[in-house]
Subunit: 273 residues, 2 copies
C-alpha cells in the first residue's frame, strides 16, 4: 500500500516559513512525502482558486488527500484554500488567535511583513556580509580579518565557502575563510594574521571518506582526491586545531544550515536581526 502524499507549501509571501516548518513536520513521518510543490505569492482570491485546482488535480491523481501547509494572512484567501480536497495545516489560523488573546490586541492581517525590507539597515548588513565573504574567501585579503566576526579554517572542499556565504545571507555575519594548505599543515603553525585574530578562528573538519568523494567529483583519480591524501590532511588539520586550541566542528553529516547554526551557537555570534 502506497502511503505517499503530495505536499503543498502555500503562502502569500515567499513560502519559506511554510516550507521550513512543514518540511520539519512531514519528515517526522517516514516515506510519506512523495512530491512537494511550493506555491508562493498566493495573495488574491484568483490565485487561490488556481492553487485549489492544482491541489485537487493531485488529489485525483494520488487518490489520497494532499497535505497542505499554509501561511496565508487574509481570511478570504485562506478560506478558498480550506475548501480544497486536502488536509490543511494553516499556521496562521492556528496560532494568530491565541497570540491576539495573549497580547491583548488584534493582528494587523497585513501580507509580507516578515521578509519585507522594512529595515534597510538589516538588508545592507547582509549585502555587506556577502561582499565581505566573497572578498575574504579562500585566504585572500587577510587584512580584512580585523572586521571579521569569524574566520573558518579547514582543508580544501570541507565546506568553508558555502558556510561563510550562508552565515552572511541568513544572519549578516561577516565570515572569512582560510584554507589549510599542505604548507600550513606541514608546519603545523598558523600564519601571523591568523595568530592575531585567534579568538575568531573556528575549524571545520570532515571524514576522509566523504572528502575523498567530494574531491573525486572535482578531480577524479588525482593525488589531491586520493583517500590517503585526504586522511593525511584531515589528521594534520585536527592535530593543528588541538595544538592551537581552536574550536572545531565535523561537517560530515551536517547540512550547510546546520553547520551555520552550530557555529553561531558555539562561537556565540549575534544575529543582525
Amino acid at each position: 500500500m502506497n502511503m505517499g502524499r503530495t505536499v503543498f507549501y502555500i503562502s502569500d509571501g515567499t513560502g519559506i516559513s511554510a516550507e521550513t516548518l512543514g518540511h520539519s513536520l512531514i519528515t517526522q513521518f517516514q516515506n510519506v512525502l512523495i512530491q512537494s510543490h511550493t506555491l508562493p505569492y498566493i495573495d488574491t482570491e484568483e490565485k487561490a482558486t488556481q492553487a485549489v485546482e492544482h491541489i485537487n488535480k493531485s488529489y485525483n491523481l494520488d487518490n489520497e488527500k494532499p497535505i497542505v501547509f499554509s501561511t496565508i494572512v487574509k481570511p478570504n484567501v485562506r478560506n478558498i484554500i480550506a475548501n480544497s480536497h486536502s488536509f490543511v495545516i494553516d499556521f496562521f489560523q492556528s496560532h494568530l488567535g491565541s497570540l491576539e488573546k495573549e497580547l491583548g490586541m488584534p493582528s494587523s492581517q497585513a501580507v509580507g511583513l516578515s521578509h519585507a525590507v522594512q529595515d534597510i539597515e538589516r538588508y545592507n548588513s547582509r549585502m555587506d556580509a556577502v561582499q565581505f565573504a566573497l572578498r575574504c574567501d579562500d585566504g585572500v585579503h587577510t587584512e580584512g580579518y580585523k572586521t571579521a566576526d569569524i574566520i573558518l579554517l579547514g582543508v580544501s572542499r570541507c565546506g568553508k565557502t558555502p558556510t561563510c556565504l550562508y552565515l552572511a545571507l541568513q544572519y549578516g555575519i561577516r565570515a572569512a575563510n582560510y584554507p589549510l594548505t599542505e604548507e600550513t599543515l606541514h608546519a603545523l603553525h598558523l600564519i601571523e594574521s591568523l595568530q592575531t585574530h585567534r579568538e575568531r578562528l573556528f575549524g571545520l573538519t570532515i571524514s576522509p571518506e566523504r572528502l575523498h568523494d567530494i574531491r573525486s567529483k572535482r578531480r577524479p583519480n588525482s593525488q589531491y582526491a586520493s583517500l590517503m591524501q585526504c586522511r593525511e590532511e584531515i589528521h594534520r588539520s585536527e592535530t593543528l586545531f588541538h595544538k592551537e586550541k581552536i574550536p572545531y566542528l565535523n561537517s560530515t553529516t551536517l547540512s550547510i544550515e546546520e553547520l551555520s547554526a552550530h557555529i553561531m551557537a558555539s562561537a556565540e555570534l549575534r544575529r543582525d536581526g
Copy 2:
C-alpha cells in the same frame, strides 16, 4: 504602557523553522517584538533547564511573559520548556497529533530529520550550485551559461550576486549573473552568449535613488554613484529589458529572500528538494 515582549525561538535543531514562522507571526503585531533570542540545539533536559532559566530571567526583567516559539520533538525536553514563565507556541505539539491522525501512523519523534544530510545528492547539488554562482559571477565564464538555470542581468549593485548565491544555497538553482555595463547599455544590444540563452535571462532593476544610496556607500561622491548616472543606467536597462522582452523585477523594496522566491515563481524554476 510598554507592550513589548521578549521573543525566544527554541529548537532541538537549527532553530530556522521556529525563527521563520515565529517571526512571521509576531510581526503581525506591531511594536510587540522588542528583543529576540534564538536557542538552537536544545536537545537534552539539561539544556532545556538552562533555556528556562534564560526565559525566566527575561520574565523578571520585562515584567511580561516572553513569547516562546518552539519546535522540539522530544516530549520530555518540550515539557520542561512548557513549565517556564512564558507564553509558548509549540509548533510540533500543535500539529503532530493531527498529522498522525490524518496519516494513520505515529511520528518518529526523531530530532533533526529536517535539515540532516539524509540526502547527500541534495547537499551536493547545493554545493555545486554555489560553486557555479561563484564561477559565473559578474559576467565571467559565460561559457558556463549552457548549464545555468537562470542568468540575472542588471546594473552594478542592483543585488545580482547575493540573489544568485541565495538561489544556490536555498534552492540548489544554478544562477549566473551578467552586469549591464555602460558599453552594453549604450549599444542596447546583448552579446552573443546572452542571445544564445535568452530564454534563461532575467532582469533586475532598482529605483535610481536606492541605487545612488548603495553606490554612495561604496564610492562616495563619484560619478559612478551620482544620481544622474544611476537614473541613466536604470532607464537604459529597463529599455533593454523591454526591447529584448526579458522578464524583470524591481528589487527596491524586496529582501533577498523575496527576490529569490519571486524569481523562482516567475521563471518557473524547480527546486532541488
